[in-house]
């Protein structure tokens, strides 16, 4: 019988000690190891920016969760990236309150300024633009989220200002 080649990633050689410690902590407060799956994905993403196939295999090895199940979880969520993303991921809310208060014009301004559409990353790797379901800032719409910051009461001008500031900050920090 022909052998099927499969990729096996040994977590100990792939994940760092802080990553393993953070994942193990999460596993310790849940009843099963698989329950730590989503948190494990977030831990690795926080360190590496996104979830590569190798990361997925390593987490699968560490938690003894089937790769397919973990992939099913990883692709289910809006905040887990299975592709490389830019330094700043812009989550522009496109739900109803933002729609009614002018999110479209904010989108157009960002799109023109960065020269990218939803799902794309700027050529310098600085920004990725994604739409996001309701961010819970409906009384301060339109809103967007970059990293852990929520920006509210956006106008096309203020949104571009925020991106300009972030771009400048990125240069200073290298």
């Amino acid at each position: 019988m022909e052998k099927i080649n499969t990729t096996v990633i040994d977590y100990q050689h792939y994940l760092t000690a802080p990553e393993i410690a953070a994942i193990e902590h999460e596993a310790s407060i849940m009843e099963t190891r698989e329950a730590a799956g989503i948190e494990a994905l977030k831990v690795v993403q926080a360190h590496r920016g996104w979830i590569s196939d190798e990361s997925l295999f390593a987490i699968s090895d560490l938690l003894s969760v089937p790769i397919a199940q973990l992939e099913g979880v990883a692709t289910f969520y809006n905040l887990i990236y299975r592709q490389p993303v830019g330094q700043y991921v812009i989550h522009l809310c496109d739900s109803i309150a933002c729609h009614l208060t002018g999110a479209d014009s904010v989108f157009v301004a960002i799109k023109q300024y960065l020269n990218i559409d939803y799902g794309q990353t700027t050529t310098d790797g600085k920004f990725t633009l994604l739409s996001n379901a309701c961010l819970g800032g409906c009384d301060k719409a339109p809103v967007m989220m970059i990293g852990i910051e929520h920006y509210q009461h956006l106008s096309p001008e203020s949104a571009v200002d925020i991106l300009q500031q972030l771009a400048a900050k990125g240069e200073v920090n290298g």
Binding site: I29, M30, E31, T32, E34, A35, A36, G37, I38, E39, L41, K42, L63, V65, Q69, G72, V73, F76, Y77, N78, L79, I80, H91, D94, S95, I96, A97, H99, L100, T101, N132, A133, C134, L135, G136, G137, C138, D139, K140, A141, M145, I148, H150
Partner: protein
């Protein structure tokens, strides 16, 4: 914006809210916090259950199910056996993702200790020794403030072993999700907590009997839980006296869209829609007129001007064909296109559908496709029939969970109340709310345009070879 705290006795939920700097443990206690949980621990769990049942508290997450009754489905231990470790779970549903809803965020960020206290009461009542706060991933600030509150509660023996010298022990953890609307459905939430793809489960068995890790589990909305400390502290009579209407207690109402003063307000259950819209949200912004609103988040039916006298309690809103939902008004003005609004909502539901059952997985994108066509001026009269059929295909009883019926509600009511707008889009081949679009066809509903508007339409189109005043009507 009700960001200031007030000591008004009829605003129990929000009286201690401080968004800048939430109350620390000591300040919260001094203000009167952890007194409800103290009272609860003096009663037996069954006694607390009776109090909550008799208070008339109903779930504030959207469905409005009586909280005490929900709890009563959990297998209870006999009084006196409280120290027996029982594998049950209490989960606070803080996965607030309903578009147009931001009330839980206010409570999570503004007064995190209140939720911790509430969870202690609820978990004690059902006999759970472990509780989780299922928090949506985007609420980073809430996560930090809740964790601080939990740490302080542990330090002061309100969590952990033998709480306040009683025989009851409980651990509380935060689970931060990663952004998916369906996780707000309680059985999907349980799957998510177990590390599985968050697809709703078939019911029965109900989570109260077999939920998280196969154990009895209660999932309650944040706002629902936050009522508990006050009910225990002040009593049933006090709670019921807050509201003169059929539903007990207070509720956080909110409004968004192009109103003068978007925000949220804690009010006795049952203000009218008009009161919330005009007295609290300040009415429409200058130059705009009111067209309609969704009374309780994205998955409720539109209501229009004739309904503004309706009271915002569960029964009254249901009587006029909608749902109280989360109590968050999403207000449509006359310069925003109703078709585009429904399209936006349907896009959300199509994106957030978990993909498990066919009516929802295929029905919501199908509705998006049809609505997109209509909004872009390429709709046909037959499309209205298709949309009506989709409303039927995705209705209650034909889908795995409540997501698709929720998506149907704004659509079917828009077809009813904004029928003329749909018709105009189709007949004129354009969206009149979109200044960059001009009518391709003018035949049927020309009477609805003024003479000058019609002339503008004709002159704007005169350069297009395809234009003809006699061009056939759409759908024929």
């Amino acid at each position: 914006m009700a960001e200031h705290s007030s000591n008004h006795p009829l605003k129990p939920l929000t009286q201690w809210v401080n968004l800048q700097q939430p109350l620390s443990f000591d300040d919260y206690c001094q203000a009167g916090g952890y007194q409800g949980s103290k009272v609860a621990l003096q009663y037996s769990p069954n006694e607390v259950l009776e109090i909550v049942k008799n208070s008339g508290l109903k779930g504030r997450g959207g469905a409005g199910f009586p909280t005490g009754m929900k709890w009563s489905f959990v297998p209870m231990f006999t009084d006196g056996d409280e120290e027996v470790l029982d594998n049950k779970y209490l989960v606070a549903n803080a996965d607030e993702m309903e578009p147009g809803t931001f009330k839980d965020r206010f409570l999570l960020e503004g007064v995190p200790h209140q939720l911790v206290e509430a969870i202690i009461i609820a978990a004690y009542t059902i006999g759970a020794n472990k509780a989780y706060i299922f928090l949506r991933g985007e609420y980073y600030l809430a996560a930090k403030r809740l964790q601080d509150a939990i740490d302080q509660a542990y330090q002061n023996n309100w969590l952990g072993e033998k709480i306040q010298g009683s025989s009851y022990s409980m651990d509380l953890y935060i689970h931060c999700s990663a952004g998916r609307y369906i996780c707000g459905e309680e059985t999907a939430l349980i799957n998510a907590l177990e590390g599985k793809r968050a697809i709703p489960r078939a019911k029965p068995p109900f989570p109260q009997v077999s939920g998280l890790f196969g154990k009895p589990t209660i999932v309650n909305n944040v706002e629902t839980l936050c009522n508990l400390p006050h009910i225990l502290k002040n009593g049933i009579a006090w709670f019921q006296a807050i509201s003169p209407n059929s539903d007990a207690g207070s509720k956080i109402y909110s409004a968004c869209g192009r109103v003068k003063n978007p925000g949220l307000w804690e009010l006795p259950m049952g203000p009218t829609l008009g009161e919330v819209l005009y007295d609290y949200a300040g009415g429409m912004q200058d130059g705009l007129k009111f067209r309609g609103l969704l009374p309780g988040g994205a998955s409720t039916d539109f209501l229009v001007a004739e309904h503004l006298d309706t009271k915002m309690d569960f029964d009254s809103i249901a009587k006029v064909g909608s749902r109280l939902g989360t109590g968050g008004l999403i207000v449509l003005d006359d310069k925003n296109c109703p078709v585009a609004m429904v399209l936006n909502l349907m896009r959300f539901f199509a994106q957030e559908s978990c993909g498990w059952c066919t009516p929802c997985r295929d029905g919501t994108p199908w509705a998006v496709e049809v609505l997109t066509r209509i909004e872009h001026g390429q709709g046909k009269i037959k499309d209205l029939e298709t949309l009506a059929k989709l409303c039927d295909f995705m209705w209650i009883g034909k889908t795995h969970c409540a997501l698709a019926p929720g998506a149907v509600e704004p659509l079917r009511s828009a077809l009813k109340y904004f029928h003329d707008d749909f018709l105009q889009h189709i007949e004129h081949g354009c969206c009149h709310y979109n200044p960059s679009m001009t009518a391709k066809r003018t035949k049927v509903s020309q009477a609805q345009l003024t003479q000058s508007e019609a002339e503008q339409v004709i002159s704007a189109n005169s350069t297009q070879a395809s234009y003809s005043p006699q061009s056939p009507k759409a759908g024929q």
